[in-house]
Symmetry: C2
Subunit: 291 residues, 2 copies
């Protein structure tokens, strides 16, 4: 049995795992994200006694450089997180562990693990969207993580925004009322003056939130034509939100996309993650398996 | 030298070609699209004396079924074009010519030919958008045409639309003011009361048109992160339009996507097609080569 290492590299914490898959987890640890030296050093110290491993995968916060022809491939690049801009996390792990390292965004990792083991099994085109402190999106096309010039920034989609219905101007420092500026957790807090998780079930905040999420998903369906959409992140802990999103996506598409799953089985099309709180680090394990 | 057949299957005309590539064109013909029997029959009659060919590619108008596990794979599906709904164009060609047939959308074909031989050489993630009578988009990811549940319908993106600036409600029968409903040729004609090609260079129509195109491209950059964007279709015959689009995309992204080509070389990022009027049928040849 081949064993793999996985690192969910988050802005707040790192989760490290050694596993052959979700049914064969051999070791796991988590620790806060401090300086790059200390944090990457702790990851290396975790893996070293567990060698040999076939490869290590890193599912990272961003922005990151995924261009294999770039001199800064495998770097965390322009992050505002103090000390982490231009960190060669991939090179450091490769050198210290003498192992191949695969590197991708946290959301591409989550899309891959949901495809391999979770809520998107059998769907080689998967869209994974997470909505929490920020909004991010990952996608597999033909079973492989989607890269390109840089990587998707689906949180920054520009959506229709009617100021008569929602006079809130949005809080994205770059774009004001983009998707993240209107619908991430901090935007909900700024619009309503209280944290999203304290808003009652019948508060109009939730219908508006479902509307923006559905609008973004409609645009993403028209662009990517995913076979399944997995929705992660804290906002979906709200009861009933995903159901409202499904209804609104169907209304917005208005019968244009003639696919039975969209026309008749929306509950199988837009789903919650299957891997729970381990989705992130299992995404890193799945990336390691892509070697 | 291997030779391939290509069919650009359009709603108005079919273009057929036998070639080894754009520098090695052996035969070419075009004829109007009438009934499926007659039109596919004429294509078969064109190819038969030119056999043997290695494969035939079809770059088709849509919607089409690209799901290889579907019983209607290779069909033109729900088109309103009389007589063409549920036409098994792929099966018919395979049976009559006894050759492998690759089948895709016209815009995926165009993306592929621009990648192989045209304005997107070396860019394995390419977005091709055409704006004319309708709006369509094709995309290569990792050098391969993007498929999924069905295929992209990028003309139906929902964009910010400020009725104070543009009170025109859009003409899409499904979505009203989606991208196609606001910005395709017929929408321009309906908004301004005259065909787009008769609007003078300094008419405000063009700045509004550039605005909607740039808004859509901004969303597509955030979703797909293409390495290059190729813009085809009649509307780009208008002098200066692509230049306006480049400026507005840069303004809308507002420095968020930290890539040198977007920050400093927009003229190399958003470009016109390199293959001119043969892009469509050469797309079909390129599809045949994917066998």
């Amino acid at each position: 049995m081949n064993l793999f290492g996985g690192i969910e590299a988050g802005g707040t914490k790192f989760v490290c795992m050694v596993a052959g898959g979700p049914e064969d987890i051999r070791a796991e640890t988590r620790f806060p994200t401090t300086t790059p030296d200390e944090t990457i050093g702790r990851a290396v110290a975790f893996f070293r006694p567990l060698l040999p491993l076939k490869a290590v995968g890193v599912a990272s916060f961003g922005p990151v450089d995924l261009d294999q022809t770039s001199p800064t491939y495998g770097f965390i690049t322009t992050t505002p997180k103090p000390g982490w801009a231009n960190t060669d996390i991939t090179g450091r792990l490769q050198a210290d562990l003498d192992l191949p390292v695969t590197f991708d965004t946290d959301v591409n990792g989550a899309a891959l693990s949901e495809y391999r083991w979770g809520a998107a099994r059998g769907c080689d085109t998967v869209l994974y969207i997470t909505i929490g402190t920020g909004i991010g999106g990952g996608c597999l096309i033909n079973g492989r993580p989607m890269h390109g010039l840089v990587h998707p920034e689906m949180g920054h989609l520009r959506l229709p925004h009617d100021p008569k219905v929602d006079p809130f101007g949005g809080i994205c420092p770059f774009h004001g009322d983009c998707f993240e500026g209107l619908a991430a957790g901090p935007a909900m807090r700024a619009r309503w003056g209280q944290p999203a998780e304290t808003l009652p079930v019948d508060h109009p905040a939730w219908e508006l939130e479902a509307h923006y999420i559905a609008m973004a998903l409609t645009d993403l369906v028209c662009t990517l034509s995913p076979r399944r959409i997995v929705l992660g992140g804290g906002v979906f802990n709200h009861p009933g939100l995903i159901e409202q999103v499904r209804v609104k996506v169907q209304e917005l598409l208005n019968g244009y996309v003639q696919s039975p799953v969209i026309l008749h089985h929306m509950g199988e099309y837009i789903v919650l993650p299957g891997l729970g709180s381990r989705a992130g680090v299992l995404g890193a394990i799945a990336l390691a398996m892509e070697i």
